[in-house]
Subunit: 347 residues, 2 copies
């Protein structure tokens, strides 16, 4: 299929309109990446940072994941060497940028759980994930154990977050990152397709991505997950060979990634705004919650291995760990419910 003559009013890196949905999508995501990068540089780089800076980092990760995911799903239509060079670099960018946010969100989740478990209701008024971690004043209603556990987690996760922030700053200033940004800038104007990709080329590849997802879902223990209070997620909760990440969580994490790839492939094929499938979104949220709870539970268990902590602190961390493992189980249940509904809806 021939590309149309360019309309001079839209013929810019951001706005080039072709009948090649993959090229359009990659160009749009590359443009978004560059916009977010500019915004991120303009809005400062302190730990936590401003709301704008956090949003910019999120937009950067978002577009990096979408470009990387599309290179994976539609690889046969793209220059092999180029996409094989590009994907790990984009994964490095989004992974590095995600760490600071992950530590902050994990701390927020664990402190909220400690407050819930202490019967003190909602957290005291504090900014969501951005902003400083809560101080001693927030722990007024906690038992000694819960307060000490909260302080310990705050120390450990704030340290991890600060380190992740430095690592991200270093990464953004590195020649490696500049090389990625240059490649993305190039992608915004020219997509290295092996041939112009029409819908007929895209659909089988998108279908294959969906099939990888449904195969992985079929391998999940969904019957167990759909039976409430199956107590599966806490089995091995005190196992001597427990390592983070929890082995039984791995297939769910894998489905989370495959669901994301499926969603991006849908965006390519149907246009980005077409991604209004609420059930797909709900399923993705359940898997995000699964991942978050799994990692929060591991952080609580890890904190309990800190030498010389008080028994009351360790007890509170044990309760917290089990609570988050039940969140893991609840997330699996939510995914199962949502997925079964979807299967019924799709004849």
């Amino acid at each position: 299929m021939a590309t149309r003559h360019h309309d001079p009013t839209t013929d810019s890196a951001a706005g080039a309109v072709t009948e090649d949905p993959l090229a359009d999508y990659l160009r749009a995501q590359a443009t978004e990446f560059l916009r977010a990068l500019r915004l991120h540089r303009e809005t400062g780089a302190g730990v936590g940072g401003s709301r704008e800076s956090v949003d910019a980092a999120r937009a950067l990760r978002r577009s990096a994941r979408r470009i990387s995911g599309s290179l994976h799903t539609f690889q046969p239509l793209l220059d092999t060497d180029w996409s094989e060079d590009m994907r790990p670099e984009l994964a490095w960018v989004s992974g590095t940028l995600a760490m600071e946010h992950a530590h902050a969100a994990r701390l927020e989740r664990l402190l909220a759980a400690l407050h819930r478990l202490s019967g003190s209701g909602a957290l005291p008024d504090r900014p969501a994930v951005v902003g400083r971690a809560g101080g001693a004043a927030d722990r007024g209603n906690l038992t000694v154990g819960a307060a000490k556990a909260g302080a310990l987690l705050e120390r450990q996760l704030t340290l991890a977050r600060t380190r992740a922030h430095s690592t991200a700053l270093q990464a953004l200033g590195s020649s490696r990152f500049h090389a990625v940004a240059d490649k993305v800038a190039l992608l915004a104007s020219e997509v290295p397709l092996t041939r112009p990709a029409a819908s007929g080329d895209l659909l089988p590849l998108a279908a294959a991505a969906q099939e990888r997802l449904t195969d992985a879902v079929a391998a999940l223990p969904l019957v167990t997950a759909g039976s409430p209070y199956n107590a599966e997620a806490l089995v091995h909760g005190l196992s001597p060979d427990t390592t983070a990440p929890h082995p039984q969580d791995a297939p769910w994490h894998q489905v989370r990634l495959l669901l994301r790839l499926h969603r991006y492939a849908r965006e390519v094929v149907l246009g980005e705004d077409a991604d209004g499938d609420a059930r797909l979104l709900t399923a993705g949220q359940a898997l995000d919650r699964h991942r978050d709870a799994s990692e929060a539970a591991a952080a609580a268990a890890q904190a309990a291995r800190t030498p010389r902590i008080a028994p009351a602190t360790a007890y509170a961390l044990g309760v917290l760990h089990a609570d988050q493992r039940h969140e893991v189980e609840a997330a699996r249940y939510a995914f199962q419910r949502c997925w079964e509904k979807e299967s019924v809806g799709t004849p």
Copy 2:
């Protein structure tokens, strides 16, 4: 309604047949009480004791509860002074005899949970609730924390059990108990009714017992309980003012008692063998499980307050406490499911 002329072949304390179902029921339960008491005395009285001795104690408690419950439900048909004297004494007997079993069952439940949480599957082969508590050999697959927590619980609950055993032995040898046994012996031959009670007198009183049950169930938070993973049972899990028993559990414990009274009233009205309502039985089992898990969770929390325990022990007890509170939540869910089914089944 006149009593029939006695058939000499059935005219004994145990077998007197009248057309008064309440008198029949009380006589039968009194006879069963005396039989169980005789058996209990014959089968020895060591801690744990033989299977026969445990069964005899269970039968004693069972008949004491049934007599006491019937005196309560059908009080207007019975001599007031007599039944007001009798009921607290029977409650004392069944309560005192229940303690040893309760401690043994609680230890069994907590050790089984520790093994499950350690991923070591089923408990090693050991006698159920009777028999010695498991020794160090049972803890081969546990982490240090889980093993130490198990040993601590074993020490504490075995001590409590031994004390309960002594208390029960003392009680069974006391003049107070002999007075109860004498009254029960009298009841086996003559029931102090104010008037012969026919079905017409019994039904309204049995219906009132059922109504007290349905009112109490209606006051339970069943909508929350029916929503899986509502995380309600662990709220206040780290609360500074947590005392055993857990305040949120009390209405459920109350329903458990009212369900029992309803079941006994059905036995009186329909005959003991008529108590084949599987859903009522399932609902009762869910409430038993609720009570057991609630008390096991409290025992784990209590053990964690032992001075100078290792942090790993405290951590394992925290996980165990949370696990049992989730069992509490699971039991409420099971009750809600079973009860809703029953409501649908009963037009």
